[in-house]
Amino acid sequence: MPFIPHTEEEISQMLEVIGIDSTEALFDEIPSHLRTSGLDGIPEGMTEMEISRLMHKRASQNTDAVCFIGAGAYEHHIPAAVWQLTTRGEYYTAYTPYQAEASQGTLQLTYEFQSMMTALTDMDVSNASLYDGASALAEAVLMAIRGNRKSKSRKVLIPRTVHPTYRKTTETIVTGQNIDLLEVDYDLAAGTVQLDALKQAATDAGGDITAVVIQQPNFFGALEDIDAITDWAHENRILVISITNPLSLAVLKPPGQWGSENTGVDIACGDGQPLGAPMSCGGPYYGFLCSTSALVRQMPGRIVGRTIDVDGKEGFVLTLQAREQHIRRSKATSNICTNQGLVVTASTIHMAILGPEGLENTAAACHANTTSLVAQLTDIDGVRYAFSSPYFHEAVLVLDQPVTAVLEALAERGILGGYDLGAEYPELGNALLVCATELRSEEDINAYQAALEAALDVETRQKEIA
């Protein structure tokens, strides 16, 4: 029997010890009229050989086009060692490290992860992960509401330059708790939110704002004026929540230093995917959440602390558990229990192998490749960069033709050409968000350029014909 070790003889022995005749009797407390007759809608079992064949076929039905989509999930090189180590049974098949002494592997690794995230963000403390970047933003907002005792409004400013699904997820999650998420529009020329717009929104909302969210680089890849916004917020007792791509922090100013005096944000969150998680159809990734020490008791999720054992030897435990659902129940900082530990494991190993210089070089290469891509594509007639702001490794292009058809034409040429902004940002026209990570070679970029030229040409011609 698949995955069941019992022999007939053992089954009889066990039934005898229990004092029953058959395994059926084990279910005699279940009202018989409720019993399931059989799960006819579920196919019969397969052998590993058969499922393997099926899954290879399914996997091959997915595209293998060269990817220029970013928009919150990025294709990076992941050292081979990372997942070979991560899928070792000792990491892969352990539970949450409740029994600290039997879980020092996971616990120490998580402590190292927290150390790396605080280093990258330059924040005081980090938790052990949340589900993903979007839900981490929701938790950050809830944390800010709990943490900003000076504000009573439960109002949070969120620029439209924040990732659309992050905003939607946050909306879903905080909606039950009487919180106002106030969207703030961005500047169409700059592709960033202006301080004036934030001020105006604050005034319109009556002045008392609990927190402001800033994404850097923002959803368009453009760089926000983080220092000014941070300064303004703190002058007005507004907590600052940053969303950052953690890879970008190898070269961009870390949230812990935002503000003209490097005072830093209060809560830093984001998605850890660029640090060792494959794109994998959308998950599992992980959300990271860092904050100032002042807010540590408002943190959701697991936190690992370093301590000593009875002999004074260093060791690691889950700590500050009084914040959590299994202790505090309905008064917990969050309902989160299971997090994204394995992806954190991969990410920690990924960062250790790349090191600070490796991450810096990678981040800089992403920037350089996207710069080349934008340069080469905007060389084509009818393609222009949408904004005036500098960008990190994503940029919005505006085409003189509808994006959908162009993307289809590119896909036929083996190129996933980017993310169509039409649905979320109709005001931008035929806008396309493109990204070239360190993996995109010159050859790839040339191929994109050629394919786009051809696609636009065909489109142009078809339009002329019609």
Binding site: T169, C337, E357
Partner: protein, 483 residues
Amino acid sequence: MLIHEHSKPGRKGAPQAPVSKADLSDIPSNLLRQDSAALPEVSEMQAVRHYTRLSQKNFAIDTHFYPLGSCTMKYNPRACNSLAQLPGFLSQHPLTPDELNQGYLACMHELQLMLCEAMGMAAFSLAPMAGAQGEFAGIAMIDAYHKANDDDGRKEILVPDAAHGTNPATATMCGFNVREIPTLDNGDVDIDALQQAVGPQTAGLMLTNPSTLGVFERQIEKIADIVHAVGGLLYYDGANLNAILGKIRPGDMGFDVIHTNLHKTFSTPHGGGGPGSGAVGVAERLIPFLPLPLVSQDNAGYHLVKEQDAPQSIGRLSAFMGNAGVLIRAYVYMRLLGRDGMARVSEFATLNANYMMAEARRRGFELAIPDRRASHEFIITLKREASELHVTAMDFAKRLLDLGYHAPTTYFPLLVPECLLIEPTESEAKEALDGFMDALEQIRQEAESNPEVVTTAPHTLPVKRLDEVRAARQLDLAWKPEA
């Protein structure tokens, strides 16, 4: 030794990254990082060695019997891992157009259908990323349902006192007040108390059946009637599905919403903390409220349901597709088992638990609920040992580690003093169960003859008992470079 302590300035990893830093001069310098992040600088071999050795300090299913109650630590078939890691899945961008992502969407659609069938629900969403998020989605749907019916006054969620902490925490997160319902000594919900608690303020009841006490709630139909009668909905916490898979379906018991922990019942690995998946299923009337993404099928193939086509949805719970890779693992597992395999899961999980319970009784341990069938787990209470011998459940747990067994869940459910919640799962062989019971017996003997060895356990692990109080008082949450 921390990875940071292997670090030396200027030490470099393998050729993992572009060899030199590209030009960043087009970015204003006030937006750039000035210092270098204090990340460890080690060679690739140092990292590999460090994390290999570190891993060996864990207990895991792949190394030890791990009867952690409520957590369903069963075997995680290795095929699920390797097939989920096929490049066609791993390198797929989540925003790939549906037409180019049919292989993945086909798996997800079938997974939705299989879950519906196994749970007796009308529709499933795979969006939630763990049990607790599934609970959130479920309670948010209950809320949305009532509101859609202009039934705005339902501010209360009922939760049995035996419930997992995520249940009340979730209700709060969704903006509800929580009211606890007591449990009888026999493990059943106190029906009278429930009857008194329900009313027009009742949005719903969260229940897991079998309960966290390891017994099947026999009055489930009555409970459903009581809640439904006042207009409330019934939420099923699917953490204990391993006990009933293929035997009885939550939908048939009268539940309106359910989350499943795919990382429990459907054997995706727990990964030392996650990721999991908390897929949610609903009865017909709640379908419009399901969270996105959802996969639908038509003649042209598989599609993600568009937001405009799901106007009543509670919305999104993540940036993309939930924990896609976990879902693929669950899909593979379910196809490996098939319909017969599913019923076998609960059969043998239950056989193992009842056998262990019978053995515990035979060996003179006190059972929390002695006169009932165990479900897939059962509870020993060590209150006698604690009061007479001053050896607590925690001491037993720590000493078990020395003897090569992961400890059961301790001090949960909160109702039972000095308890061990023991869940063997179907994948353990009789030898492992017997070995564990022998160990428990040995510890009790030690507790009588030499309690010190138990109360100071563990002795054979990388560290001895750790000072949790110090950890919480003298917070040390991250390594920082010396200033």
